[in-house]
Symmetry: C2
Subunit: 167 residues, 2 copies
DNA sequence: TTATATTTTCAAAACTTTTTGAAAATAAAA
DNA sequence: TTTTATTTTCAAAAAGTTTTGAAAATATAA
């Protein structure tokens, strides 16, 4: 297998993985493409490499910037914008965790807080509702705390802990 | 807010959360509905509560069984099948992690292993490819190890560690 | 200023996923 | 056996999401 084949394979699979994580294929593939590139790339280069339209490339590139995973660069004397990905995978993970926390964990925690004040009565149904939602909140709040902790902590803190745990 | 309202709110939000995790809305909502119910439910009851069709209820109920999150029960003298959810949230998490590992982590690790043998040359591109894919593999393999460890370990091991970490 | 390069937007088209509902299959009762 | 209850299947419809491509907006150069 040569470099192009390997790149192609990896980019395709990164797209599939993205899809099952609520990140659309083009966005994941652009991310992979920029991660793998030693230099920053223009929209046209990305369009060409991934065979996607300008609109698609532009929108998803900006979504990646929004997620804090990609940055713009202006080269002196050049009119085109260049894009490059955050390469430090610890930072990448932290950013993704942060965004998903905002989009997914906060909303469900809000709902859990809201329903925790409901007058559910003392029927079996009411009791079960209290019990299950309390359990769920307790787990989610632990993960939430972990993410907050990780976002604030030193570069390899989490990876070190992981390494120790898993050995 | 009364029980019905609270239930409705939670079920809806669980559906939204599911969607951004690659689990379809109906599947997530059925799961929530069974989690909240003190008794096992028939297909008809679930259809009625969630306002979904028989086919939809049947297919997703079976997907949940496939994921190991829901079980069938036969009541003596009754022809209808009853369904109930695994209530222990630690087990629920373990099951979900296990399934997602199978569907998502294994395939990307397979691709990473495959491309790691590619002849990428020693261009800047080739070197960057090696570096980035190696980094990604190293992180993913740590998570993978963590999941494997958690699946084998005692009921609250992971939660205890989480609690300690987060305090 | 006008011309040219580049980026952004967004309605419509293409594609994907989910849902429905009715027919087929299965299982239990009469 | 036949009848009735129940579950399963799956083609078609509906809904949702992504992508395209061309027009509008913006920015730089001449």
């Amino acid at each position: 297998m040569d470099l192009d084949e390997a790149k192609y394979k990896f980019i395709q699979e990164w797209g599939v993985l993205g899809s099952s994580w609520g990140i659309n294929r083009a966005m994941a593939q652009i991310h992979a493409c920029l991660l793998l590139s030693p230099d920053s790339k223009t929209t046209d280069e990305v369009m060409e490499e991934l065979k996607i339209s300008r609109g698609n490339a532009n929108m998803n590139m900006r979504a990646l910037i929004d997620w804090g995973l990609v940055f713009k660069e202006f080269k002196p004397g050049e009119r085109k914008e260049y894009f490059y990905a955050e390469k430090d995978l610890w930072t990448v993970m932290k950013q993704i965790a942060k965004e998903r926390r905002k989009r997914e964990i906060i909303p469900i925690r809000d709902v859990l807080a809201e329903v925790s004040t409901a007058q559910v009565g003392d029927s079996a149904e009411g009791k079960e509702f209290k019990k299950v939602t309390k359990d769920i909140d307790s787990i989610i709040s632990k993960f939430d705390g972990l993410i907050e902790m990780a976002s604030k902590s030193d570069k390899n803190w989490f990876l070190k802990i992981l390494s120790k745990l898993v050995k």
